[in-house]
Amino acid sequence: MEQNLQYFLIPFLNWEMMLLIWVGVFAGIWVGAIPGLSVTMAASLLISFTFSWDINSALALICGVFVGGVYGGSITAILLNIPGAPAAIATGIEGYPLAQRGEAGKAIGLCTTVSVFASFVGIIVLAVAAPVIANFSLKFAPRDFFLLAVMGILLIGSIGGGDPVKGITAGAIGILISMVGMDPSTGEMRYTFGNIYLMAGISFVTAMIGLFGVSEALTQFRQAGLKSPKQNLDRIIPSWATFVKYLPLSIRSSLLGVFIGALPGTGGDVAALLAYDQAKRSVRNPSRPFGTGAYEGIVAPETANKGAIGGAFIPMLTLGIPGDAVTAIIIGALYIHGLKPGPMLMIETPHLFWMIVSCLSISSIALLVLGLISVKPFAKIIEIPKEIIMPVVIILSVIGTYAIQNSVVDIFYMIGFGIIGYFMRLYGYATGPMVLGLILGPMLDANYRRTMQGAEDQFLPFLQGFVTSPISLFLTLAIVFLVFSQTAVYRRWRGIQ
């Protein structure tokens, strides 16, 4: 125990690591905020960059960028309705209307405070219960990932903000588009027409930037002369009472985030969406109706995606299995620095575990300070006249898209999605469900087929699995409840409007 405390204190006593964490968080906020620049990219660049450094310094920098980057993604979602990363899609649903009301400062301030809280929840769970959760997460069969994806798909009706049938239509088109490319399991080409660029598939980040960014810009040009909303920046730090009011929701969502983050293959994006949906169903008297700037709709996804950071490290540090793309790269970094990530990592190099826990803690503190300092300058961005900011946003979207895979074709896809999104918005087809379909489509398809292959392609054994395995049974019941809770009978019974 004393030994662990000593390991925990390493970064606190080393001013070089301390500085690198702060630099990392600051850089991460910007990386996250720029659509197309992702923490994954930054982390893989840092591996080459820190090759000759000491492993501790390299990890300190990467941890800082990770925490800052997840936070930064929400900033652009709130300010411009362009999520900097998929994990921030849900935040934009409530955050952007708030910014349009002139409450961007308050929204980012709230987002920062609950983010730091959730990040600590994730770290504490990581420190206390990592091995237990990691072993439990291994029990999740392909069938259970399929059920999680179904849960996510159920959101489509709820994030549309308009006609639910149109939302589902858009979601189904999203799923169809996600099928384009080489089928990862059989290598069969679907909808590729012999084109090598289609074979590589359509990245959902590309679609997300187009459907949110460019289509938002185009829609704004319909309203010439519309002034950018004036921002009220008086009280950006939420009061203690506000914080306490959202505490139960914060705890619930961040624990959900930790767990979803710990599942290999699901990360902050799925966690944030599930948490948003959960808040929308369970909060009885939101500060405003959901979809128009409810604070609860910011608290839930923000706490979930920050909780997922600690969660992602759980399988990585205990088993050597990446919890998400960033931890996959950190595993690579450990190899390159001469360590052996795997189940023995915690036993053979316990200092590494405690050092990462403490790097993440310092990153969260840095996030609180740096996040609150940058609220005002960030909020000022929306006050820039539209005719200046929108062309810049379009070019930013272009270069961000290109940077994802260094592909010019992606730029064309992105602009194409922007134009499609513009038409969709005109006719009340929300763009959110389409992105959701693109994200969850492959997860649905692959896990459904794995489950079917496991049942030797027989329909009955396939169905039996849903009730015989305890985890699947629980998730199936949860889905039944989710569907039931949308019916009028249930709503009248619970007294939800």
């Binding site: 399991s185 590589a200 996959a328 690579g332 052996k340 795997g342 496991g454």
Partner: protein, 333 residues
């Protein structure tokens, strides 16, 4: 700290003023295209060897991941760039199978190997809760009961080809369940969602060492130092020798037709990088073996691999076209 700052500064300076004083190759920074995504085995190899090779070359290599279609996208990018040696491809074994799988018209014959860097081996792994203690147990059980679930990473992937070997030799078939790669497959194997999966040594060595997985046999002719207790497959079934040596590998390539002196400069820079103690440490920990073949030796290595893998896939029924259509010779029995 000072060192870090100087490091940052020098890297920035190198990038900003990427103009060289030498007239000979390379006179500007190079571009490195990685055919798989960040965090994968190919990516790790590229990011471990490049910083050392850069020093030997005296030029920067700007790395970028261009994943897609089993690396066919990155291979196409290389082939469409000029044959001047300024574009490098960091790749794995996949181009050997593009033509038979109908992924692309390209193959290793369109590339010029700079270096075959690291080779790996494949281990047949089972979940420790299954009753299969030895390779014989597994083969017998598979003969008796055709319902054993085997994890797979798609047609043409390493587990698929290993499965094809088992099918060819023992006539056994499994219930294949496809995952997105070695890593997710290993996770499912540990969770008991599949019973058996052939995994790259680099993926499985730590899991076997910690008892999370049981290794039944390594697909090599000799035991590997990382797993001294796991028998080599030829100790149990000598008939596997016809397919061996076979396993994953990572290498660096340029477009075919690149001038010989350029290829030589690059080869020697990367070969020297392989002897760096830091790189040796990485190879040891990641469960690989140094290969280091360059020039004609590397070309021969690639041809042998192509012949083994493509005929195995073809005989297992996974190919779209016969390797004979591309004049790929059948491996000698």
């Amino acid at each position: 700290m000072k060192r870090t700052f100087i490091g940052i500064l020098s890297v920035l300076l190198l990038v900003v003023f990427a103009v060289s004083a030498f007239a000979a190759f390379p006179e500007k920074s190079l571009q490195g295209v990685i055919m798989w995504g960040a965090g994968g085995g190919t990516d790790n190899f590229a990011r471990a060897i490049t910083p050392i090779a850069e020093k030997n070359l005296g030029q920067n290599i700007v790395l970028q991941n261009k994943p897609g279609a089993s690396g066919a996208v990155a291979t196409t990018v290389l082939v469409n760039s000029p044959a001047d040696g300024y574009t490098l491809l960091y790749g794995a074994e996949n181009p050997a199978n593009y033509r038979v799988l109908g992924l692309s018209e390209l193959s290793f014959h369109d590339l010029q190997p700079i270096l075959i860097g690291v080779e790996g081996a494949v281990v047949i792994c089972v979940n420790p809760e299954t009753p299969y203690q030895t390779m014989e147990d597994l083969v017998e059980a598979a003969k008796a009961d055709k319902k054993i679930k085997m994890g797979n990473s798609g047609v043409g992937g390493l587990p698929y080809v290993a499965g094809a070997m088992m099918k060819g030799i023992h006539g056994i078939d499994f219930n294949y369940i496809q995952f997105d790669g070695d890593g997710p497959g290993a996770t499912a194997l540990m969770g008991g969602h599949v019973a058996v999966m052939p995994l790259a040594l680099s993926t499985s060595v730590e899991y076997i060492r910690s008892g999370r997985l049981r290794g039944l046999a390594v697909l090599t002719t000799k035991r590997v130092p990382q797993l001294p207790d796991v028998p080599a497959i030829t100790e149990i079934y000598p008939e596997y020798a016809q397919f061996l040596p076979w396993g994953p590998f990572y290498g660096v390539f340029v477009k075919k037709g690149t001038p010989d002196d350029v290829v030589e400069t690059l080869s020697s820079a990367f070969s020297k990088a392989m002897d760096d103690p830091r790189f040796e440490e990485y190879v040891k920990n990641s469960g690989g073996f140094k290969n280091g073949a360059t020039g004609a030796e590397a070309v021969q290595f690639l041809e042998k691999f192509e012949s083994t893998a493509s005929w195995l896939i073809y005989n297992a029924g996974g190919a779209k076209k016969s390797p004979a259509d591309f004049n790929i010779p059948e491996p000698k029995k």
